[in-house]
Symmetry: C2
Subunit: 280 residues, 2 copies
């Protein structure tokens, strides 16, 4: 099955465009985690314990999980990332796993990063930075069953520093999308990161690239507006998006399981309500 | 001591601008490594064993070592990277350690990556990708004793895809240099990656940024010309560069210690010969 087919199947079987970000800050773990009967590993493996709780609470609402590798590698906790992904496969087998790593390098180094994401961690897709150009992305595109998700227009304030610069009248981020979606995407396994904080830009990208799916950060904590994002980014089938939320879900109610479940369910429902409306 | 002072001291005390890249490909390890008396760890820790050999052979010629983290993380060999850096500190205490990671992310994620590079691995500097803008780089610049090394004009073929695009008549890579060297570099701890394969571009960057040091990949295996690179990139003091070589040194003579030593010594000597000439 190709990556595009796996993505469509994940979205259909969960009836969801929701991606849950697994960014477990060790300073913000739920206070009750150590006492939780689920979390018997909590002392030795607190990130894994927290992720188990999140996956248990969202297994029926998430189309994808997106662990941010920095939170594990800062602590030397790669084993907890491996265990968390194993748990997702067991508990939420329909969901995709996106390794958020924003890798960028060339040649045999890029190949090593592809092995890290796809073989060591078994991720379905990995986020990548386009600055180094085609030969830095190619090693992630050669497996049709895995996805390469390119930074395009990100949701942070600094995105304007370079991504918005005009090249012959077109912003750099649009050039990135143009080149990547056109020349690089032979297997249909390329996605773009398009932040929720810039719905006008997202609408332009959707018009230019009706067939490409977007991974959308920036809903919630970063201030992106859900309704505007969906109006701008949904494709003709009412899909084409994975809407990521991290902090607003995993720290809901201080990280209590019921609050996590409710936050995820509410967001999925709000997304699906708008998907049901006729698209412009 | 600031990062700029540490860099200058490393270059002076080793009388060298040479940076040795520690990119140990597990498929290309020296055949005799397991029999080497130095390498009693070779079976369990082959990357570390190979790095010990390289460091032993180059400790008096390298101003810096640059381990490429992908080669360790692809294998789950983070512990061998930690051990390799510990060994560099012991055997080559004057040399800087540059973690080649090309990280790019924002906010608390960038802070986690800074902890990975500077605290977990104890690196003196880390390579970074500028695409996400100022807030993605800031967390790496706040420690004046550590360096942030930004991709500017890289040495690979794909560099032209985006880095060379003209923004109001100036290539994107020059905009990156302008903004980073100008606004972001309050502590003088920012360097730029400028590939050896484009000496004309390097000369322009040197004229525009006489005070900024460049990390230079692409000599040797990637075809960069040493003489042209030095003519283009040396600053008024005959420094301002770290010239990286990886494969041409570490696989010299199939990775035999004497051949590694000779390759490193030759490159340092060739660099210093040109440094001794009056600069244009």
């Amino acid at each position: 099955m190709t990556f595009a087919e796996r993505l469509a199947r994940a979205q259909q079987s969960t009836d969801s465009l929701l991606c849950v970000g697994l960014d477990p800050d060790p300073l913000k773990l739920p206070k009750d985690l150590l006492a939780d009967s689920h979390a018997r590993f909590a002392g030795a493996a607190p990130l894994y314990a927290f992720n188990r709780r999140i996956v248990d609470a969202t297994a029926d609402t998430a189309a994808a999980y997106k662990p941010q590798i920095a939170f594990y590698s800062a602590l030397g906790a790669e084993d907890q990332l491996v265990e968390s992904i194993r748990y997702i496969r067991e508990r939420a087998p329909a969901a995709l796993v996106i390794l958020d790593a924003k890798r960028s390098d060339i040649g045999n180094t890029a190949e090593a990063y592809a092995r890290e994401a796809f073989d060591r961690y078994g991720a379905d897709a990995v986020t990548l930075n386009p600055y180094m150009g085609e030969d830095s992305i190619r090693p992630f595109l050669v497996r049709p069953d895995r996805g390469a998700i390119l930074l395009c227009r990100t949701s942070n304030p600094g995105a304007k520093d370079f991504q918005d610069l005009l090249v012959d009248g077109l912003p750099l981020y649009a050039r990135v999308a143009q080149r990547a979606a056109g020349h690089w995407n032979q297997h249909g396994n390329l996605m773009l990161v398009v932040g929720a904080t810039y719905p006008r830009e997202m609408a332009e990208l959707r018009r230019a690239h009706p067939e490409v799916s977007f991974l959308v950060p920036g809903i919630g904590a970063q201030g992106g507006d859900l309704e505007a994002t969906l109006a701008a980014g949904l494709d003709a089938r009412g899909a084409g998006l994975l809407i990521n939320s991290s902090r607003n879900i995993i720290y809901a109610g201080g990280g209590a399981p019921a609050a996590i479940r409710e936050a995820a369910t509410e967001l999925r429902t709000a997304i699906n309500r708008q998907r049901a409306k006729p698209q412009a």
